[in-house]
């Protein structure tokens, strides 16, 4: 078979549907990645227009451009859109598009999950946009502090749009993080051990792990605040045992890592593009990886530095001030590694390099002002002033937008197959750079003169007029620059000359394929022996197109790939992907019905939506698998691999593991919230403790034991080709018992509407009950699969997945029963 025939056959197997149907049924990572990037770009423009409205309002004193109510909506939506609908989805889109190409594989681990996440993002973002069009957009600031956003001071629907819309969008972030983590760990080209991974993959892995542990506290906070608003559960009301500071803790537990979640992917772009622009290799690969990991962890110890003015004791302030200064060290290591890379190489001032230089200049200033505000006495002076707004824009625009623009210009030939022709980009860069610094240097200054952030207007005698006018003019110059970038990119994509395959002489695998990339990426998968395989073998693209790599025979007609051992990169399993389907968009729409029902308080449709999602999830999982064993498959080079359905640690198991990591963070945050209220909030102890019940605890514990033992015995029975039905029934009974015990906590929680103690118990009980219901569904699913012949001693991958979830349920149920019943016993 020649290269052209192979291309045609692979395209027939991997291509998305023709016409408009393609965009609704595609699960291809290139398509979904591009959809994410284009949609995030659209939201960036909306957020940018809102920024211009803010600057128009503040350009002159006594401005009547927008009244305070509309202005509050404008700045809230600007922050919300830029953070949640632009920055994070841009990372998701970039990672989804690039990772399989960089890692030398054909697609991400769970293609349908990518598409589902995208549609959740679109529908959730549309809800927020609709609120803006209707004039009922969120107006409490992007960090939504109660009591301002509580039911007493914000009774309208505005805040609900934020809480429900953002939670909906965050499904997308969690889905993408699971997808990216498993893909990087398992879906790489054979031979690509951890030390040979492209540096962007390390950054994406660290970022994805941060999303899995950083987003759950915010999801929890949003749920608790919505429960308070909708049902009067007083988690944040000080007179009823709640505490508004709990929100700040939960929000900033997410919010500070969020800054690094935004910066780290951009740092991955810099570490990838900079060495190519400097015609060398990255200096200090291992140091950079260690610094990225250190940065990620340290960023979780900084959250209280956003709360320095809330009256926290000195020792607490000092802990977080020390951590905030320390985080500058791994950041500095990366900056010096990049400077060293430039020193080592021969920098070439091409378009991406201009934006990288813009990054250096801007981000270093933002980092230095960050160290300033990490020092408590300075922060007390600058807190909630325009200085902080300027600082965060230096960090986020400098640390994200400039590198992303560099990445756009760098990968444009990869995506479109065209090289730059027009020279608008240089002028656009100059306007962006000058406009940005005029806008935000001025904002530092006016902040130090005392201008508070988020004020809708000011007086001429405040002395801020000239500076604000300069800042506003700068912002419009910046906006013109951004508009020119868009025009430039569109012109390049549509009309420029064809690009050679590897226009930058880069060494990473995304340049070892035809341009624009085909749906299957590589006609055969490469064997990797270094970090820059294309530099080592410039003819690699041709050899792969000839089918000289792995899985080069499309004869079986499957969407095939393979997984590798995490550390060594040795091939371990053969994988067959699902094909095009509308299931993700339908499931996202039904998920949207759930969120919309909550928003509009149509509670009768909530259970319908839940049943709908469960039914679709059932169908989702059911469509995988087969009724006959699959023999080990020859993947090339005389290597045979077992199929992933016949192993204990299948991709689904890894996906479940990382999803449960996020879930455990959510649960840990809930326990933290409970301990925080108990320890710090006024109005404790509560009027009445939960009445302990030995029967309920005994039932729950017995259920946990039964379920854990039952699923293990079922797994073993399946391996030995025995009868698993009895053990699945035992597992189901155990899950049922845990559900009943959790129901006891829900039903007997003391007066949830009157004290935060009862409200928290209600949520804890609800959490256990939800997981019991989920586990029951999984056991029922497994029983149906067994009954209809979808399992065998070889096809066993579904048992360990259910085992994982049952173990988790048993663990959290036991903990919740202890937390609920123990105080009653002790008192």
């Amino acid at each position: 078979m020649n290269a052209l025939e192979r291309h045609r056959k692979l395209t027939a197997i991997w291509a998305s549907q023709p016409g408009m149907a393609r965009w609704f049924s595609t699960v291809n990572h290139s398509d979904v990645g591009k959809l994410f990037l284009v949609t995030a770009g659209f939201f960036f423009l909306v957020g940018g227009v809102l920024a211009m409205l803010i600057r128009a309002q503040l350009a002159t004193p006594h401005s009547a451009f927008a009244g305070p109510e509309i202005y509050n909506q404008i700045f809230t939506m600007h922050g919300t859109i830029m953070m949640f609908l632009f920055a994070i989805p841009t990372f998701e889109g970039l990672a989804m598009y690039l990772l399989p190409k960089l890692l030398g594989t054909r697609d991400l681990a769970f293609p349908r999950l990518s598409a589902y996440g995208y549609w959740c993002y679109v529908f959730g973002g549309t809800m927020l946009l609709a609120s803006m069009v209707l004039g009922i957009a969120p107006d409490g600031g992007w960090f939504m502090y109660p009591p301002l956003t509580g039911p007493l001071y914000s009774p309208g629907i505005n805040t609900d749009f934020w809480l429900i819309g953002i939670t909906f969008v965050e499904i997308s972030a969690i889905a993408a993080a699971v997808e990216i983590t498993v893909s990087i760990l398992k879906y790489r080209a054979p031979g690509m051990s951890l030390d040979k991974m492209p540096i962007f993959a390390w950054y994406a892995l660290v970022t994805a792990l941060m999303i899995l542990t950083g987003f759950p506290p915010l999801i929890l906070g949003s749920i608790l605040l919505e429960l308070e608003r909708a049902f009067g559960l007083p988690f944040f009301q000080a007179d009823l045992g709640g505490d508004s500071l709990l929100w700040q803790h939960l929000f900033w537990l997410f919010g500070h890592p969020e800054v690094y979640i935004i910066f780290l992917p951009a740092a991955g772009v810099i570490s990838t593009v900079l060495p190519v622009m400097c015609r060398t290799t990255i200096l200090g690969y291992g140091w950079i990886v260690a610094s990225a990991v250190a940065l990620a962890f340290l960023s979780f110890g900084l959250w209280v530095h956003h709360m320095f003015t809330t009256g926290i004791p000195h020792m607490g302030l000092a802990f977080f001030s020390a951590a905030s200064t320390l985080v500058a060290v791994p950041t500095g290591v990366q900056i010096f590694a990049w400077i060293g890379t430039m020193w080592k190489g021969r920098p070439n001032l091409r378009m991406p390099m201009l934006h990288l230089l813009g990054f250096f200049f801007t981000f270093v200033i933002g980092g230095l002002t960050g160290v300033m505000v990490a020092i408590v006495p300075f922060d007390w002076q600058a807190h909630d002033t325009a200085f902080i707004t300027a600082h965060l824009h230096y960090v986020l625009f400098g640390g994200f937008v400039f590198p992303i623009l560099a990445g756009l210009y760098y990968w444009l030939p990869q995506v479109t197959g065209r090289r730059r022709f027009f020279r608008l980009g240089e002028l656009a860069f100059a306007l962006i750079f000058i406009g940005f610094h005029v806008t935000f240097l001025a904002m530092h200054w006016v902040g130090l003169l005392g201008q508070r952030r988020r004020i809708s207007t000011y007086l001429p005698e405040d002395g801020w007029t000239t500076i604000n006018l300069i800042s506003s003019i700068g912002s419009f110059v910046l906006a013109i620059g951004i508009a020119m970038v868009i025009i430039d990119l569109v012109l390049q994509a549509l009309t420029a000359r064809r690009s050679p395959r590897n226009p930058w002489n880069a060494g990473t695998l995304e340049w070892a394929m035809m341009k624009p990339p085909p749906a299957y990426n590589f006609a055969s998968l490469p064997h990797v022996t270094s970090r820059e395989p294309v530099t080592d073998d410039p003819q690699m693209a041709i050899r792969l197109a000839r089918g000289e790599g792995y899985l080069g025979d499309p004869g079986r007609g499957w969407r095939e790939s393979l997984t590798v051992d995490i550390a060594s990169g040795k091939p371990d399993f053969h994988v067959i992907y699902p094909t095009n389907t509308r299931l993700p968009i339908v499931m996202a729409a039904v998920t949207g019905v759930f969120f919309l029902s909550l928003l509009l308080k149509f509670y009768w449709t909530v259970p319908l939506a839940v049943i709908g999602v469960a039914a679709l999830a059932w169908r989702w999982a059911w469509s995988l698998g087969r009724k006959a064993d699959l023999a080990p498959q020859l993947i090339g080079r005389d290597i045979e691999l077992p199929n992933a359905t016949g192993v204990d640690r299948s991709p689904s198991w890894w996906g479940s593991l990382f999803l449960l990591t996020a879930n455990a963070t959510f649960f840990g945050s809930l326990l933290f919230g409970f301990a925080f209220l108990w320890t710090v909030a006024p109005g404790w102890p509560p009027p009445a403790w939960f009445a302990a019940s030995a029967v309920e605890v005994g039932l729950g514990m017995a259920g946990a034991t039964l379920a854990v033992v039952g699923i293990r015995r079922a797994l073993r029975a399946n391996l030995m080709d025995g009868d698993v039905r009895l053990w699945l029934a035992v597992t189901f009974a155990g899950v049922l018992a845990m559900g009943i015990a959790a129901g006891g906590v829900i039903l007997r929680a003391p007066t949830p509407g009157e004290h935060a103690y009862g409200a928290t118990l209600l949520v804890l009980g609800g959490y256990a009950f939800f997981h019991a219901a989920l586990a029951a569904l999984m056991v029922a699913f497994l029983a149906a699969r067994v009954a209809l012949g979808f399992t065998s001693p070889v096809r066993r991958a579904e048992f360990p997945v259910v085992n994982l979830w049952i173990d988790y349920l048993a663990g959290v149920s036991t903990l919740i029963l202890i937390v609920a019943h123990l105080p009653g016993w002790l008192t």
């Binding site: 000195h314 020792m315 951590a323």
Partner: protein
């Protein structure tokens, strides 16, 4: 996965100890644990200093393990990165928890 855990272990331990010491501080201040003198130091100071020293001790032990042939990764790259993050954990524990012995507790 063991290699990934080797890289993550020390920062994870720092995060756990940082959170635990901050939680202990919250308990001391929230429940008004005060007044008792143990030797020359107050009970609060003894508790906080002990927690700090335990955190440093645990990080030191982990760093030793990451250097020891028995526990270290066979991959030179993972060994380098895990020892690097091991040092990060130790330095972070010393620096970020140092206020436990240096400032007032509940003011």
């Amino acid at each position: 996965m063991r290699d990934v855990l080797r890289i993550l272990a020390a920062p994870l331990l720092w995060l756990a100890s940082f959170t635990a010491v901050y939680g202990l501080h919250g308990l001391i201040c929230g429940h008004g644990i005060d007044g008792e003198i143990v030797g020359l130091m107050s009970l609060q100071r003894v508790l906080m200093a002990t927690a700090w020293l335990l955190a440093i001790g645990a990080q030191t032990a982990l760093l030793w393990a990451l250097h020891a042939p028995r526990f270290a990764s066979p991959s030179p790259f993972v060994g380098f990165v895990s020892r690097g993050t091991g040092w990060v954990g130790l330095v972070a524990s010393v620096w970020t928890l140092f206020p436990a012995v240096a400032t007032t507790y509940c003011l």
